[in-house]
């Protein structure tokens, strides 16, 4: 990214619509079509559309996932990418692990040792906050207030809160999650999609 690029290198082009590798399942397409009817414009459907994509793309909104949502909602890629990168619950940085452990570090949790818990997680998993273990099982994140101060220090895994937690609880939690094949990040995305849908629209 310097003057050199300007002089020599080829600029990458955004994929043309026919170059996209669309990955939405029939179920996802049906859900998106149902959600479209909830809003006056397709633009308004970007947020739930991204949740469907986050589920379909294993919890990671890759450029391809963003492009697919944009394509299906007839928006520009840039616009959808702007939305996806704005909200922190969409994962656009890199492919997260199967389970995302989010550590609340706001005031109450902080007072009750949230950073001790975070340090313990980092040491135990060998990765820093915001990173994913090499085996692709865990991603740990620092998040703002989870609105569960009564359970401080609290963790969020998928759509479950765990807390108050101690080091021993974390050992047990990690062991349990390691043996779970289902992905908490996909499960979280799915549960958010289901919340958006009307009962009649949910796949039975």
């Amino acid at each position: 990214m310097s003057e050199l690029i300007q002089l020599g290198a080829q600029r990458p082009k955004a994929p043309a619509p026919d170059q996209l590798e669309l990955r939405f399942s029939d179920k996802a397409i049906a859900e998106l079509d149902a959600l479209r009817t909830h809003y006056p414009t397709e633009k308004a459907c970007i947020l739930p559309g991204l949740w469907i994509a986050q589920r379909e793309y294993d919890g990671y909104l890759s450029p391809a996932a963003i492009a697919e949502v944009a394509h299906r909602l007839h928006r520009s890629y840039a616009e959808v990418e702007g939305v996806a990168t704005f909200y922190s619950m969409y994962t656009t940085a890199h492919q997260p692990g199967r389970h995302m452990i989010e550590v609340c570090t706001c005031l109450s949790c902080h007072m009750c040792g949230a950073y001790r818990i975070a340090d313990y997680l980092e040491a135990k998993l060998g990765v820093k906050l915001g990173e994913t273990t090499p085996d692709g099982v865990f991603t740990i994140h620092e998040v703002e207030c989870l609105d569960a101060c009564d359970r401080a220090p609290v963790l969020q895994v998928g759509d479950q809160y765990v807390g108050p937690v101690t080091e021993a609880d974390i050992d047990a939690l990690l062991d349990r999650l390691r043996n779970e094949d289902s992905s908490a990040v996909v499960q979280l995305a799915d549960s958010i999609v289901q919340v958006h849908l009307r009962d009649t629209e949910r796949a039975k």
Partner: protein, 728 residues
């Protein structure tokens, strides 16, 4: 179209001065009525306000019943504050000054202040506002944010993220004006950055505008980068001669060399926007390293530089008593076309002259005017804005008529106009179309007949067969969608727009004329525009094989294709090319090459060396549009004047001057000393320009009105339709 609208006004007070403004007017606009100014970054009068930069903070209060003013505790952003009754605004208080200082201190925290190497330095709103309103020092001692510098977003636009103050003007431009939504803000907070999807190529036909509206040096022109300091530039108003729209621009030049083109405001034409063709296309033209400096005459294999007089003698010698033809490019001025057609028809005694470079070249008897009595241009670009419905037919509007495209989009974006787009391939206009009619290539005429069947009962006899179902079978456009399109247009005085590019499709002429006729019957207005810079002007000046100045009938000569065919067979002795290269401009390159090979004398009047030079017997250097005075008629028939901006290289002369001097030597031309003298002759000869005087053309140009009382005749088109539809 719209009756005078009664606007409700409200009484507000700005800096203790009472005034009445329209209700809901933004305060940032209201203060301008007093000649005051509020500093701004993100606000742009042509885009929706967002209140992102907080530069326009003002103190606001409301009059209380007892006459006192109760101020709001916090300052308000003037760009998002609509005027309401009793509002009291202060733009010049201690608090406002402190606020402005604060906002600027914040904006400058992460701004790299690399003004000495920034293209914007010297014409930068951030510099100007800091000078006028900012703090003299910063309290920020920490390390500034570092981000990619000089990232090439496209061939034309270079992005410097460090300089960005996140005003969102560029993002809103692509969303609201050009409509491609290529730019968006990625990430948020301090890391927010305007960019394309994954920093891929910024593909837009209007990307150059974001460079001009960027209030800092974050978006700079890749072509202009580091080429000049703004205070070294000289600037003069001019016109774009690359697109048919007549876009108003500024030519910025340094030491006589063109360095950049900027948009110039003309509310009737381009507002303030330019297409990329306009903004970046002129550089290659004016700064062509192969400009011809002096006249040349062929001597064996080589060329010899000669005096003009010798060159003229050579040209006239080659023309005298010979079969001669003249072809012109589309970038000449009205005066050039007029002088050259006069020369061709008198001294050169030929009617073989043409400036059209399409495949399909209609004889005058087949043209819209002759066959239906309808003029081809019935409204101006600005009229599109007020249309309730617009039918874009058979053209990629953004490419062919960029300014008409922006107005069409504006009509949809601002006023909710219904736009029907009919074309055989995808185009930008589809993104905001109410109905898209994608027909199979070559079936435009059938689709036009189908629309006529639904919209023009007077044409029912001719189009009886063209029911929506039949049209679906012929064109592939679903019958229901056709009906939907007709519903969108019915009773709206819609504006139909197409271009002469449609002629090149199968039965395109019939489609074009049917469209004109059905639009007229349905109470709409029709524009069938030319696709090249001053093609419209050239035709009106009589630079056509079968139409004289003002459209009078003359003995028909050969058109472009016929001239080239004749030349290829050796039936033309002398071919004069004025500002064109058939090998480059004519669709059939093989024929063009063969023609140039077989012409005994090829006289070239051009600004730069082209492929045709290899076959030339004489080359005369021509000044480009910005290097001479002249008037130009855009596709909407607006006559605009461009005075000389740059010095023509070497001994180059204006084409009209070359024609005049040749005519003088042949004893047939009046001496013209200036383009205005040619204009006087045009005013005498061309009815539409009657009374026009060169120096009286206003800065915004004059749109030529259509003569009133034109009668409409269906016969010829109905006949063509019947033979087309009957043949099925």
């Amino acid at each position: 179209m719209a009756a005078a609208v009664q606007t409700e006004t409200v009484a507000i007070t700005i800096n203790d001065i009472e005034l009445h403004v329209p209700k809901g007017e933004l305060i940032v606009e209201s203060v301008k009525r007093l000649g005051l100014e509020i500093p701004i970054f993100c606000y742009h009068p042509r885009m929706k306000p967002v209140g992102m930069c907080r530069m326009c903070l003002v103190e606001v209060g409301f009059k209380q019943p007892d006459g006192s003013v109760r101020k709001m505790p916090k300052p308000q952003a003037g760009c998002t504050l609509p005027a309401s009754e009793g509002m009291v605004v202060y733009t010049d208080t201690e608090m406002v000054h402190r606020d402005r200082k604060g906002v600027l201190e914040f904006l400058l925290i992460n701004h790299p202040l690399d003004c000495p190497i920034c293209d914007r330095g010297g014409e930068c709103p951030l510099q100007n506002n800091t000078l006028a309103y900012g703090p003299s020092t910063s309290r920020f001692l920490e390390v500034k944010r570092h981000l990619p510098k000089a990232y090439p977003l496209s061939e034309y636009v270079t992005l410097d993220l460090e300089r960005c103050i996140q005003c969102g003007r560029c993002v809103r431009f692509t969303e609201e004006i050009s409509g491609d939504s290529q730019l968006a803000f990625r990430f948020r907070g301090a890391s927010m950055q305007p960019s394309t999807f994954q920093l891929t190529d910024f593909e837009s036909r209007f990307s150059g505008n974001v460079i001009e509206i960027c209030p800092v040096g974050a978006l700079t022109s890749s072509k202009y980068r580091f080429r000049a300091r703004p205070w070294d530039l000289e600037t003069r108003p001019g016109l774009c001669t690359l697109t048919p729209c007549g876009t108003n621009v500024f030519y910025d030049y340094r030491s006589g060399r063109l360095v950049r083109i900027n948009g110039r405001t003309n509310e009737d034409v381009n507002e303030e926007w330019t297409s990329d063709t306009t903004k970046f296309g002129h550089d290659a033209l004016y700064n062509n390293p192969n400009r011809i400096q002096v006249p040349h005459v062929r001597e064996g294999e080589a060329f010899r530089a000669v005096e003009w007089s010798e060159a003229y003698a050579a040209v006239l010698g080659a023309c005298e008593g010979k079969r001669t033809a003249v072809l012109a490019g589309t970038m000449l001025s009205n005066e050039d076309y007029y002088a050259w057609q006069a020369l061709a028809r008198t001294a050169l005694a030929t009617n073989h002259l043409d400036l059209r470079w399409q495949k399909t070249l209609l004889p005058a008897s087949q043209m819209l005017k002759a066959r239906t009595g309808l003029p081809g241009v019935q409204y101006g670009i600005a009229d599109l804005e007020n249309a309730l419905a617009i039918l874009v037919f058979g053209t990629n509007l953004a490419a062919d008529q960029p300014m008409s495209y922006l107005r069409t989009r504006k009509a949809w974006f601002r006023n909710g106009a219904r736009v029907v787009v009919a074309h055989h391939e995808a185009s930008e206009a589809e993104s905001f179309a109410h109905v898209v009619l994608r027909y199979r290539p070559g079936t435009a005429a059938e689709l036009a007949a189908g629309l006529a069947n639904l919209l023009a009962p007077e044409l029912a006899d001719a189009t009886r067969i063209a029911t929506p179902e039949w049209t679906e079978a012929q064109t592939g456009v679903p019958a229901d969608r056709l009906r939907e399109a007709a519903e969108a247009l019915r009773g709206t005085e819609f504006a139909a727009i197409t271009t002469h590019g449609l002629f090149d499709e199968a039965n395109g002429v019939t489609a074009y004329q049917t469209l004109a006729l059905l639009t007229s019957h349905a109470g709409g207005k029709f524009n069938g525009l030319v696709n090249h810079a001053n093609e419209q002007g050239g035709r009106e000046m009589g630079f056509a094989p079968d139409l004289g100045p003002g459209g009078e009938a003359v003995t028909a000569g050969m058109n472009t294709a016929e001239i080239l065919q004749a030349a290829a067979k050796g039936e033309i002795d002398t071919l004069i090319l004025v500002g064109c290269d058939p090998i480059r401009d004519f669709p059939d390159t093989a024929l063009a090459t063969q023609a140039l090979e077989n012409v005994a004398n090829l006289v070239l009047v051009d600004s730069a060396q082209t492929e045709a030079c290899a076959y030339a017997s004489a080359i005369l250097p021509m000044a480009l549009p910005a290097e001479r005075d002249g008037t130009y008629t855009s596709s909407e028939r607006r006559v605009q004047r461009m005075e000389r901006i740059l010095k023509a290289p070497g001994e180059s002369k204006a084409p009209w001057q070359i024609a005049m001097e040749l005519g003088l030597r042949a004893g047939s031309s009046a001496p013209y000393f200036h383009a205005r003298d040619v204009m006087d002759a045009i005013a005498e000869q061309v009815p539409a320009y009657a009374g026009a005087r060169y120096q009286d053309i206003p800065e915004t140009g004059v749109r030529l009105a259509n003569p009133e009382g034109l009668t409409r005749s269906n016969d010829a088109v109905v006949q063509a339709l019947q033979s087309l539809l009957g043949g099925r």
